[in-house]
């Protein structure tokens, strides 16, 4: 009797250690190579470098805790979802309610730096105008531009991070780039808009 209990316990131990080995392998091959991308994305989602590092750390911890539920497919998408949830929790702790639809606010130009003709005229080089235009974008627009154009995410990956549909990513991104393009045109660095 005692022998069979020991055998069961020993089998369980073997299974547990097998699982741990498998979890480690999955984590090593799927999660560790994505740390750099996570750090880039977190930098685009937060204002401070230390916040970005904390957010990635939180993501890595959550990923390890739920590694046994991960099916091994699309690790980046899985990690970006975890990162987004971690970010939402952090944000919620700091700011309990979001009262406004961010896209509507963006269209009204609420809460962000406004275009200023002087800003555009001051630096007439392409990159300077791009920087100024980027800073003048509403946060929701700027985040999408940073995720796709600077961090190199696809629309689907950016949608995962932001927790919005892909169509919303596309719409924000295209509108944001049009604004950048219009500022370039205002600084005579791009052709004027051709047709309405």
């Amino acid at each position: 009797m005692q022998g069979s209990v020991c055998r069961v316990a020993s089998d369980m131990e073997d299974r547990l250690s097998e699982r741990t080995v498998r979890d480690r392998q999955t984590y090593t091959s799927c999660v560790l190579p994505e740390i750099e991308v996570l750090l880039r994305v977190a930098s685009s989602m937060t204002d401070q470098r230390s916040d970005a590092e904390d957010l990635v750390q939180d993501t890595l911890l959550r990923a390890w805790r739920s590694i046994d539920t991960f099916d091994g497919r699309h690790p980046r998408a899985w990690l970006l979802t975890i990162l987004r949830n971690a970010q939402v929790n952090r944000h919620r702790r700091r700011r309990p309610q979001l009262l406004d639809d961010p896209d509507l606010a963006a269209d009204r130009g609420v809460g962000d730096a406004q275009d200023s003709a002087e800003d555009v005229v001051v630096g007439r080089t392409f990159d300077v105008v791009i920087d100024a235009a980027l800073s003048a974008l509403p946060t929701t627009f700027r985040q999408v531009v940073l995720l796709v154009d600077v961090d190199g995410l696809t629309y689907a990956e950016a949608a995962e991070v932001l927790g919005v549909p892909e169509g919303t990513v596309m719409s924000r991104l295209h509108r944001a780039r049009k604004r950048i393009r219009d500022r370039l045109a205002a600084a005579d660095l791009a052709p004027r808009r051709r047709r309405p």
């Binding site: 750099e36 295209h174 780039r177 791009a190």
Partner: protein, 103 residues
């Protein structure tokens, strides 16, 4: 030969080539590589022929390039710290790693 087509054919579009209006709608997704192969070919054919849309495409391509240049390299020390953190996590079974939250 696409170069022999009159300019108005590009504006209106053909079965194999998007119209100016379609390109206006698809251009950014095309430059982002987010359209299917057939659409990409139709847009590319149009851009070969239509100077105005070609200019628009060049402008957006330059904007994308300038934005990509803004990407700063990930700080090596932060990457190292996170890598070490992740490796340490693996010393603890996943279920018990909640205790490491403050790490």
């Amino acid at each position: 030969m696409i170069d022999e087509l009159p300019w108005w054919r590009a504006m209106v579009g053909t079965k194999d080539m998007a119209s100016c209006r379609q390109v206006g709608r698809l251009l950014q997704s095309y430059l982002d590589g987010e359209v299917d192969d057939l659409t990409a070919r139709r847009v590319a054919r149009h851009l070969d022929l239509c100077r105005r849309c070609g200019l628009e495409a060049s402008t957006y391509a330059e904007v994308k390039k300038a934005l990509a240049r803004r990407g700063t390299p990930v700080p090596g020390d932060a990457h190292e710290r996170l890598l070490r953190f992740a490796e340490q996590l693996m010393d603890t079974p996943p279920g018990q790693s909640a205790e490491n939250e403050s790490v």
